[in-house]
Amino acid sequence: MALLQIAEPGASAPVIRRRKVGLGIDLGTTNSLVAHYNGGHLTVFTDSQGRGTLPSVVHYTPENTVVGFAALEHMNADQADNIASAKRFMGRARVDIDDASHIHFAEGDVLAFATSAGAKTPVEVSADILRALKARAFDALDEDIDGVVITVPAYFDDAQRQATRQAAEFAGLKVLRLLNEPTAAAVAYGLDSIASDLDTDDRTIAVYDLGGGTFDVSILRLHKGVFEVLATGGDSALGGDDFDKNLADYFVSQYQLSVSDSSARRRLLTAARRIKESLTDNECVLVNLTDVIPEAPANAELTRQQFNAVNADLVNRTLDACRQCVLDAGVDVIDDIIMVGGSTRMPIIKEVVGALFANEPLCSLDPDQVVAMGAARQADILVGNRSDEDVLLLDVTPLSLGVETFGGLVERIVPRNTTIPVTRAQEFTTARDGQTGLDVHVVQGEREQVQNCRSLARFELKGIPPMVAGAARLRVTFQVDADGLLEVSAQEETTGTTAHVVVKPAFGLQDDQVADMLRASYEFASEDMRARQLVEARTDAQQLIEGVAAALDVDGDLLSDSERALLEQVMSELEAVAKSDNADEIRSATESAGRATEVFATRRMDRSIQAALGGMSLDALDKEFEE
């Protein structure tokens, strides 16, 4: 990182920097984990009883909020106050949910769970889980947390990613990056086995992630320290829980059981799960369901083979998704297969996945922890503790992004599996004579018809001068950042009229509701925290000032005298503001001063391309035609 690095000119006060703390968080549907990577040492934080996982369950009462194992104890008693699997509802509106009869939703358009402590949105529930994880890490490290990398399923759409980000914000965590879970797993394995092969040619890696509630498959390529996601696929409604359900249904029909209420059903599912787990190490197990249903047989047998037959359909669905993903990726050979998620402990899974990809799956790391471990490693890099050998993750868009056009059809602007960040523009024109407004409806999905895709945002470009139909040139630009979050802008090119929207979470929260929730989470901020915010704001301002000064020393010739004078003036104004005690003012001054440096930064990056590519000689250009 030779470019724009913060040099410290002798004259000014040095900025003292401690090793920053970045955490990796696997915010799972059933279980969550938090891990930390520090100079080669990887820790998954445990609770006081040594358990690494935190069940993603929150129990709400008017008096208090309980998270994890403690909440699980209330599972059967106060159902409505006990929220599990909130991740399934992230970024969803009431209208998205069809079958959820066992869930008590609060009144209103916003999707929220009705608890005796009031309505709780999935974002708030996730925020409570994140707070518990944060506290766990803080107790162990006794240091402030500078930032976190949170993993999300590769299939998560924009609204779900936005919701995840917002939950972290409510929990007072700075999100360095949302990372796809399979990518995180590949990074975790990159620590040891694959890193040694960095100098060899490309390696193609398949990540098979079968969790409790979701299935993801990704094809990645590793080439000289760059991890590239070639394609992702999967099924967001397929997981280990479905194997339990299938097995429970099998028992019901096999033994003619009558499952009278939801409590008996839950106990039957728990029993099915235990049987599934014991079949991992045993070819055959005794089935005794009399605890659950008195009339059930006391000592039936179930073989692994029978279990596999009951679930053959589920297994095949995952394999179909794998085949499709390989096609999308356009690869022939898979060099490594990584197994993620507790459900991959089932022997049948290892067997069929190994056979499909003609290779032995990697499973030396705990499949429940591998995602959090990879996230922790990436968090350590992103928080600023980096070295030259760091891997770089290039992610892709999981779903296509487009806009509605004439007749309710979707015009795709960013196809799925496009490497991000990406900026794409498409020109449109007016459909009617004298049309002065353009309704831009942003959607996500693979289908041709708008009603089959997910609506992300709508905004209007107004003030188009009246022209005949087809004469206006309307440029719609999509920008997807490295987290997969989308911004859309529209411009009428002949007049320069513009409209712009940052795609907001489409899960029904109004801006003022969000503001209220944020205020609530800040209200607890202590004096200490405010003091720290001031120090941080000053440090950021100081770093910008020093960075620009150092850059001017090296590359000052890229600016004209007047440009340079202007930039120096902006910096001296920032220096003056930084002396004040108002953190907000300093931050906004730093922000606008930063914008003033963009042209300079762009020119410096352009100059450094030559340095980066200098080692590649044009003479070595072998003529090789790929077509």
Binding site: L4, K20, R177, H223, K224, G225, V226, E228, L327, L382, V383, G384, L392, L393, T405, F406, E411, I413, T418, T419, I420, P421, V422, T423, A425, Q426, E427, F428, T429, T430, A431, L438, D439, R473, L474, T477, D481, A482, D540, Q543, G547, T590, E591, G594, A596, E598, A601, T602, M605, S608, I609, L613, M616, L618, L621, D622, K623, E624, E626, E627
Partner: protein, 179 residues
């Protein structure tokens, strides 16, 4: 709203310059891939995660340009289109020019052939696949020659033909995979 067809791209950058390779049709795709990864290693916004907001914004745009450049240059059809753009052609206008009746007739026949292949006839499929590939390659040859000679109108026609043939090949492949 109505789509006006055309090339997509985020910025007006010359991608050949970006990758520091000569502006010509023939390129080593493997070398391009190496250059792409080297540049991403340096300019991806993750490399600026502790930098200023301004650095991150500039890096994000840079990284998006690198992605767009790699995508456009690594595919022969879009690379040909980009070369024409560099010569001042308006691709949207060019794309609207209908190819010759003879070419269109041939395309229609090939598509009819494709539709009429019953499922499981992999021989017939392979033959059509080989034929469409051959047609594509010959248009690539015409483009290469015309572009090198500076006959840009002829190159433009070849590019339009490439667009049709690319779609045909995708269609053939799609049907092959769905069988």
């Amino acid at each position: 709203m109505t789509v006006s067809e055309g090339m997509q791209g985020g910025s007006a950058r010359n991608y050949f310059d970006l990758f520091r390779i000569p502006t010509c049709f023939d390129l080593d795709v493997k070398d391009l891939g190496n250059r792409y990864r080297t540049l991403q290693q340096q300019f991806h916004p993750d490399r600026f995660s502790d930098g200023s907001d301004a650095d991150r914004r500039v890096a994000a745009q840079m990284s998006a340009d690198i992605n767009a450049g790699f995508q456009i240059l690594s595919d022969p059809t879009s690379r040909a289109g980009f070369l024409l753009q560099c010569e001042g052609f308006d691709l949207q206008a060019l794309e609207k020019q209908a190819p010759s009746g003879e070419f269109l007739m041939q395309q229609m026949e090939l598509r009819e052939q494709l539709q009429s292949i019953p499922p499981g006839q992999s021989d017939a499929h392979n033959q059509l696949s080989a034929e469409s590939r051959q047609l594509f390659d010959s248009q690539v040859g015409i483009f290469r020659d015309a572009y090198a000679q500076g006959e840009f109108d002829r190159a433009g026609t070849a590019w339009v033909h490439l667009l049709y043939l690319k779609k045909l090949r995708e269609e053939v492949e799609r049907r092959e995979n769905s069988q």
